[in-house]
């Protein structure tokens, strides 16, 4: 308990009811000028109007401000400390990117501005496109998809279009049990059926396992590399060759690209399509801070099918073209989430090629540091070289009353976001840690000390107990989720 007391403190935290309960009739936060036009009865103009007035909370400006600020103090964020969610890559986003993306010259661009006036914006998109080609070693890029999963769907639509152009319909997508959960979901949404391949004891796909299920109905194999065990698929070249022999394609989920920048290019081992989760690798906002952005890169085979409009350089001008007859069409209004392109472009330009390689090297170094510090206390079910994340489980704790869930809950008491738990599914009671390259050794030591102290004091039945909201009833929360306020009268 020493580390707990040394590294965290008790503090007064203010309770805050739903804003509806603080509402006072007549309270306002803005001063509107008095009405200087005739008052209109909306019911006379619109066919459908509310029969009852909406009961919106009425509050003054400071009350609104305090409402949200008080609740923000209950929160946890990457700006407070380590957020080692494996498979999610919760890394710190440089403030420089935000500063530049929010500058008026960039943020006030309008998609209907004439092309001739928008050359600067198009140049950012052009250069980002070229950089993403360079990172992957693949010849075609589309920036349009609005998020990683949208990139996956777009990539699979290209796969379907490729087979259709060859006059056939292939119905099956293979996925590995170490793929991201979105992979089978995206394949199902794109209309494919899914067959899962089990990975070997060393945590990677084996050519024999692929051979056993490979036939002429396979449209593509979809997998994450490095996979969700943080292991590089060492047989990937053979796998790509086997697929291509059957004219099936290789889809690489680029969610873990932050582990291989400047070290391995999917285009070199035969990938046909990859999506970039710009928020994971190129530090654009994550989760609720979005919007997301999920560009894709493709091999020569898939270039004709890329979405429109596409960027092209005509002399000094960058133009948008849409005269590619085999294209799958538009997947997003306008050109994608441009604000994210600026942030990713800033990140890439600030670091340069060598800097990007250092990003991956540090991500790998940090994950291996975590592994070295915890391997004597947590069980490592698959002993293969670790890249950007490491997966343990609770096997060593079987004789105690601790398990994966309890360890994770107790970490909250130490003021840290827990790691990913119970994923990937191929490891029972997985404990998945990804420190990312942005954590210092001292911050990682804080996490390691907390885990070690938790493991040596196994009385954490009701954890978390030191936070504002203590243990919640997860079953009830999942079954009786209420997202709207219910008035008592």
């Amino acid at each position: 308990m020493d580390f707990l007391k040394k590294s965290t403190g008790h503090a007064v935290v203010l309770e805050e009811p739903p804003s509806f309960e603080n509402s006072r009739p007549g309270a306002v936060g803005t001063d509107l000028p008095s009405l200087d036009v005739p008052r209109i009865d909306p019911q006379k103009i619109y066919k459908k109007t509310r029969s009852k007035k909406a009961r919106l909370p009425e509050l003054s400006e400071p009350e609104v401000m305090r409402h949200f600020t008080r609740m923000s103090t209950w929160n946890y964020a990457i700006d407070l400390g380590i957020y080692p969610l494996g498979s999610c890559t919760m890394k710190y986003n440089p403030r420089l990117n935000e500063e530049i993306a929010r500058s008026g010259e960039l943020s006030e661009a309008h998609p209907y501005d004439p092309i001739a006036w928008s050359q600067g914006h198009l140049r950012v998109m052009w250069e980002l496109t070229e950089d993403l080609k360079g990172v992957t070693g693949m010849p075609g890029v589309s920036l349009q998809p609005a998020a990683g999963a949208h990139g996956e769907l777009t990539g699979l639509m290209l796969v379907a279009a490729y087979h259709k152009a060859k006059g056939r319909q292939r119905k099956t997508i293979l996925t590995a049990d170490t793929a991201h959960g979105t992979n089978p979901a995206s394949a199902a949404l794109a209309g494919f059926q899914i067959v899962q391949i089990a990975t070997g004891e060393d945590g990677v796909i084996h050519p024999e396992a692929l051979a056993a299920v490979l036939n002429d109905d396979i449209a593509a194999l979809m997998t994450t590399n490095p996979n969700t065990l943080g292991i590089f698929e060492k047989n990937i070249q053979t796998i790509a060759d086997m697929l291509h022999e059957r004219d099936a394609l290789l889809y690489i989920d680029g969610a873990n690209l932050n582990a291989v920048l400047g070290l391995s290019r999917p285009g070199d081992f035969g990938a046909d399509v990859i999506q970039f989760n710009l928020h994971k690798t190129f530090s654009t906002p994550h989760g609720g801070g979005g919007p997301g952005s999920g560009p894709i890169a493709v091999s020569e085979r898939l270039v004709p099918f890329l979405p429109i409009p596409r960027l092209e350089k005509k002399g000094e001008q960058i133009v948008l073209v849409d005269d590619t007859p085999q294209s799958i069409g538009r997947v997003k209004a306008f050109y994608g989430n441009y604000g994210m392109f600026i942030r990713a472009w800033c990140y890439i330009r600030a670091l340069g090629g060598e800097g990007l390689r250092a990003v991956s090297e540090n991500a790998i170094l940090n994950a291996n540091y975590m592994r070295s510090q915890l391997k004597d206390v947590l069980n490592l079910p698959i002993n293969a070289p670790t890249l950007h994340e490491v997966v343990f489980n609770d096997r060593n704790q079987r004789e105690t009353n601790l398990d994966t869930t309890k360890i994770a809950k107790r970490l909250i008491d130490y003021g840290m976001h827990p790691m990913t738990v119970h994923f990937p599914l191929c490891v029972k009671s997985a404990i998945m840690i990804e420190p990312t390259e942005t954590e210092s050794r001292s911050e990682m030591d804080r996490f390691v000390n907390a885990v070690k102290e938790i493991l040596s004091t196994p009385n954490v039945e009701q954890a978390p107990t030191r936070v504002f909201r203590e243990r919640v009833d997860e079953t009830k929360a999942a079954r009786e989720l209420r997202l709207t306020y219910r008035f008592k009268d």
């Binding site: 994923f423 997860e474 079953t475 999942a478 079954r479």
Partner: protein, 129 residues
């Protein structure tokens, strides 16, 4: 601690089936429920749906994970335990008896299933992984 009735047959995916002529009752084992933790949702097929052996007939979701439910034998669904879909958390009590999932009209004789002794051996090995 757990009791795996001798009259049931078991799959590697932790379903059980009780066979009575051409009728079958299908459920999941207490081992599966221990592994899943608190169950929050259960999705079961409609009466009349037809499945092959090994095919997924529904999903079970806990606070930890979502898992497919697999048919122990080929057949057509004749009845669904609707009281369980209303209150899926009840499955933890008596999963081998009153908290069955579906009843089926079997096609042919079920094959490739484990006896309770074989199943207990199998889960003892699983638990060691």
């Amino acid at each position: 601690m757990n009791n795996y009735p001798k009259e049931l047959h078991y799959t590697k995916e932790h379903e059980w089936i009780r066979v009575d002529g051409t009728d079958g009752v299908v459920g999941i084992t207490s081992f599966a429920i221990e592994q899943l933790g608190d169950v929050v949702h259960l999705e079961l097929p409609k009466v009349g749906s037809k499945f092959k052996a090994g095919e997924s007939f529904g999903t079970i979701e806990s606070t930890k994970t979502v898992s497919d439910l697999y048919m122990p034998a080929a057949g057509t669904v004749t009845e669904v335990n609707t009281s369980l879909t209303q209150a899926p958390e009840d499955i933890a009590q008596d999963p081998h008896g009153k908290n069955w999932l579906i009843k089926v009209s079997l096609e042919g004789t079920p094959g490739n299933l484990m006896t309770s002794d074989q199943y207990m051996k199998y889960i003892a090995e699983e638990a060691n992984h």
